[in-house]
Amino acid sequence: MQPFISLTGIAAPIQGRNIDTDQILPARFLKADRARGYGQFFFHDARFEADGREKPDFVLNREPFRHATIVVADENFGCGSSREGAVYALHDFGVRAVIAPSFGDIFYNNCLKNGVVPVQLERAVVTGLLDRLRAEDRPEMTVDLENLRIGRPDGAQHAFALDPFWRECLLQGVDEIQLTLGSLDRIEAFERQYRADMNWLGEPPAAAR
């Protein structure tokens, strides 16, 4: 995972509450191979007509937002399906941070595993940001993970919270599987005791193998 320290870039305002992962990545693209990149599928049906033409009104098809590296959205962003492809799409489009008043829980976790920083701020603050971004010609923002702050070109700043464990993982680009395999002896010890206590579980059935 790519480390994330601080990022300054174009921030795109996404309209609407409860933007679900079906909109961020329509299900029919879930078959795609990640090696080819998921960026083209990001908000696909909002971005493109059925014949592939761009919908000129959609924010990510407008300058400068087509170069967004930050997304600002309303409540419950990324709700719905657990598809990690939604984060692949966002990431491969070039976005590395999402600011919203609240997130779908699974989406939030999926961000953490892909080097994307989910920034949770009060709704009033986010609504203010959404209004400013729509009105400005240089809609830039900074997401500073090291200092847990977001900033705007006019100097306005807001602090945000992120669990220290995940912050450290993101700052260092830690590989979680590697990290956890380091605790394998503790997992094995736990497992022995657990299986002894829960002996009714027996050996898991393998009948269908």
Binding site: D45, C79, W200
Partner: protein
């Protein structure tokens, strides 16, 4: 000692039992009993392969193809495109490579992950169960902590049988009173979601309790827990009771004989203690729940069938008003229209929300001796549900009504197997998501119970089922 006497919720009991590494703040390392796999898990398998790893305890995994399963035919080549067929073949390859117990598409026990888990007794009280699918919350109906995870998390579980998880807060939703005739479990959960909102339970693990929940069959509890995620909760659960035990007894993968007795003794200790603390409590008046349908593009956009399409102009918050306006534009609806005047183009009866035998019985009871005014399909949740329905003659009722009777799978719920609702077509659906484009680009979904979907089929518009069968 005070420690032992401290009352705990069922969630806390199961969570505490599975903590491998506890941290004061932030995530703990949690032991996972079961990891359930479907075709979408191919990213996680690729991740393992790249690392030169294999599933550490494949016997604690279970796989079944469902999302891409063709529903007329049981071979991968019955899929409408080669790309879809390939998803099922890749799944089979991954199961073999990982030596993962699984049902193949040809197996009569194949079905939707969240249907076969309980049906086979793979899902048991007291366990931690994950699956890279958000509706894993379904399986909490048996008294387990069951939640959806992403692909990276699934790879971690395969490699270590553990997961780093921040402990969620607990929310108890007590449904009081008595369900009125004609009101199904789906109406109860849609009402809960409407009340607390699509993000209302984000960050919480939900326990459903109270007389209405206790009075539900396990199948109905599965419907309720299924849609926990539509209120933002990753997990929903119902404490195991006699109803749970009689459902599980004799299921193929459930413990047998002495192990069953030992399991029951343990499961009896699980229900929340009197005085157990919850971070939040909500009470819903179950007597007031009416047959319910959705009008918009979020499951929180639900109303009693006797209601009208709401007017966004009444919403003071600009962001919320904009969301409602976009929803109505997408749905092609005019504010003020009585919901019961909305004409539909098709019906879909199935999914992990409402694809069990009890659901098909409820739909058949309405359709018996009647014709469907619109095309539609009935898709059983598993091969065994299909067999049971055919043994009872339900398939005849559906076919005589003019509906298609298909093979088991997710089908039109997520529309990735080729069963799609057309652009601007309006579908009365027993699934769980009315999202923009969920059932196909431009598709308009109205969520409702199986009986309500059957009633809509008969009249060709959204309909109060009580007018057809007498409340």
């Amino acid at each position: 000692m005070a420690e032992a006497a401290r009352p705990r919720s069922i969630f806390d009991k199961i969570w505490d039992r599975h903590v491998v590494i506890a941290r004061e703040n932030g995530p703990s390392l949690l032991y996972i009993d079961r990891n359930i796999i479907h075709e979408g898990s191919f990213h996680a398998f690729n991740d393992l392969r790249t690392r030169g790893l294999k599933p550490r305890r494949p016997e604690q995994m279970f796989g079944v193809p469902d999302h891409y399963a063709p529903t007329h035919g049981r071979r991968p080549e019955d899929a409408p495109t080669e790309e879809i067929a390939r998803m099922i073949r890749v799944f089979d390859d991954n199961m073999r490579w990982g030596e993962v117990p699984h049902f193949s598409l040809q197996d009569r026990r194949q079905g939707i992950v969240h249907i076969i888990g309980p049906e086979q007794g793979i899902t048991l009280p007291g366990l931690t169960i994950v699956c890279s699918d958000s509706h894993t919350s379904t399986q909490g109906a048996l008294g387990a902590i069951a939640f959806g995870i992403g692909q990276s998390e699934s790879a971690l579980v395969m490699a270590t049988q553990t997961l780093w998880q921040v402990k969620p807060k607990t929310l108890r939703i007590t449904v009081t009173g008595r369900r009125a005739p004609g009101v199904e479990a789906k109406d109860v959960i849609l009402t809960i979601i409407r009340t607390i909102g699509a993000g209302g339970a984000s960050g919480y693990a939900v326990e459903y309790a109270g007389p209405v929940i206790q009075g539900l069959s396990v199948e109905e509890r599965l419907t309720v827990c299924n849609m926990s995620i539509e209120a933002g909760a990753r997990s929903g659960m119902v404490a195991p009771d006699d109803t749970t035990l009689s459902y599980l007894h004799g299921r193929p993968y459930a413990p047998k004989d002495a192990a069953w007795d030992a399991a029951v003794a343990y499961w009896r200790t699980l229900p929340s203690d009197d005085g157990a603390p919850f971070d939040r409590e909500i009470e819903i008046d179950g007597s007031a729940v009416a047959p319910t349908v959705t009008w918009g593009t979020s499951p929180e956009d639900a109303l009693a069938i006797s209601d009208r399409v709401p007017d966004p102009a009444d919403i003071p918050d600009a962001q919320k008003r904009g969301t409602a306006e976009r929803a109505l534009a997408y749905m092609g609806l005019t504010p003020g229209t009585p919901l019961s005047e909305i004409a539909i183009d098709r019906v879909f009866i199935g999914s992990c929300t409402n694809g069990r035998i009890q659901d098909l019985r409820a739909a058949a009871a309405v359709l018996k001796g009647r014709k469907s005014a619109v095309p539609g399909m009935v898709v059983p949740g598993s091969g065994l549900v299909k067999e049971a329905a055919e043994a009872e003659g339900l398939d005849r009722i559906f076919k005589d009504a003019g509906l298609e009777w298909r093979d088991a799978g997710c089908s039109m719920c997520s529309a990735i197997n080729g069963d799609v609702v057309g652009p601007q077509e309006r579908c009365a659906s027993t699934s769980n998501r009315n999202f923009v484009g969920r059932q196909g680009p431009g598709a308009r979904t109205h969520l409702m119970s199986p009986a309500m979907a059957a009633a809509a089929a008969v009249t060709g518009r959204l309909t109060d089922v009580r007018r057809l069968v007498g409340g």
